[in-house]
Symmetry: C2
Subunit: 220 residues, 2 copies
Amino acid sequence: MLQLEHILGFIPEYLPYYQLALMHRSKLEEVEQNNERLEFLGDAVLGAIVAEYLFKRYPNQPEGYLTELRSRIVRRESLNNVAMRMGLQKLVQYNNSDRGLSRSHIFGNALEALIGAVYLDKGFIKTRKFIIQQIIKPYIDIEHIESTDTNYKNQLLSWAQKKGHTLVFESIEEKTEGTRRVFTVGIVLNGEVIITGNGFNKKDAGQVAAQKAIEKLNIT
Amino acid sequence: MLQLEHILGFIPEYLPYYQLALMHRSKLEEVEQNNERLEFLGDAVLGAIVAEYLFKRYPNQPEGYLTELRSRIVRRESLNNVAMRMGLQKLVQYNNSDRGLSRSHIFGNALEALIGAVYLDKGFIKTRKFIIQQIIKPYIDIEHIESTDTNYKNQLLSWAQKKGHTLVFESIEEKTEGTRRVFTVGIVLNGEVIITGNGFNKKDAGQVAAQKAIEKLNIT
């Protein structure tokens, strides 16, 4: 309870929301009793609040910049990492003996569910405060996320060189989506397309593809 | 102005937000003066409010059901259609002579930007009311959207039969994403995979693929 209050930064009112948020499916399969519905809600609320936060923080950046930045802040790996640093692994109920579970995802998902619980318990304004004060400010280094913008491609290329792989970026498709051109760039590793990325220009598409490749290949 | 008030259901306070929301990029390229940033914000706010609406309306449906239903409600085609029926095409400023523009997308995007404007002007609670009272209730038939759930596959198969095409659903991949199995089903039209869909089971993946194929092939 004290740990939960410390994580939240306030005293929760209706406890069952929080108990549900911390209940992973591996513990109780029944949908009414696990946190997946709350995760759906929390994910959406988080997306809106981060969108507003970036919209106001970067008044001169175009939509594409905000979209990209947001997707990096709320993406699975980022949330897993934040959840672990918040100490959620001490509170989440899950089946320890299920060896097929990818643990860190459980905590990122539980963080989203916790946001859903806060929203139901305290409403939008308090949830915004919780997200900004307890999550973004202490755990998310937006300047750092911004500055790594153009480094995925280099990171991937230097990895390939070190390992003796041939790696090229290849333009695969250009199409019109709505009013915009969308570009698809593929990463060709030793002659085989291993992953693709999309963007509103080739540079962005290449970055997206490189970022996905780095995750897929577990390059650190 | 009267038309805008009619669409909003209230009297707007800070007009520049709304003027910006109705300004398409084809009219003014500069990012500070077109509606794309507001569209980013409005899209996120709409996603959160629809998520909460479905979460409360369907207390016993699992997360996957809510996710699917929401994605159909907020998807591009659906919003374009709603925007046209609301009469947004009479208010949006865009370049009439630009023949490369896909018109209907302009209005769906402007609807999202308008939601962003309402949010900045009036806050979250009023925006929720606007979305539920002025958009969802009059223009979105959720029961109908739900009932078309299982019909994409049949619709696609009967189209293929009528046209004399061979069409089969083929399981392409099964992988683990986080704690879950994700299935990819492809649609094979005359021997060629034309599109794929993902889902947490093969049935859902097939439906997603069928829905995408119907859009791609312009089947009505």
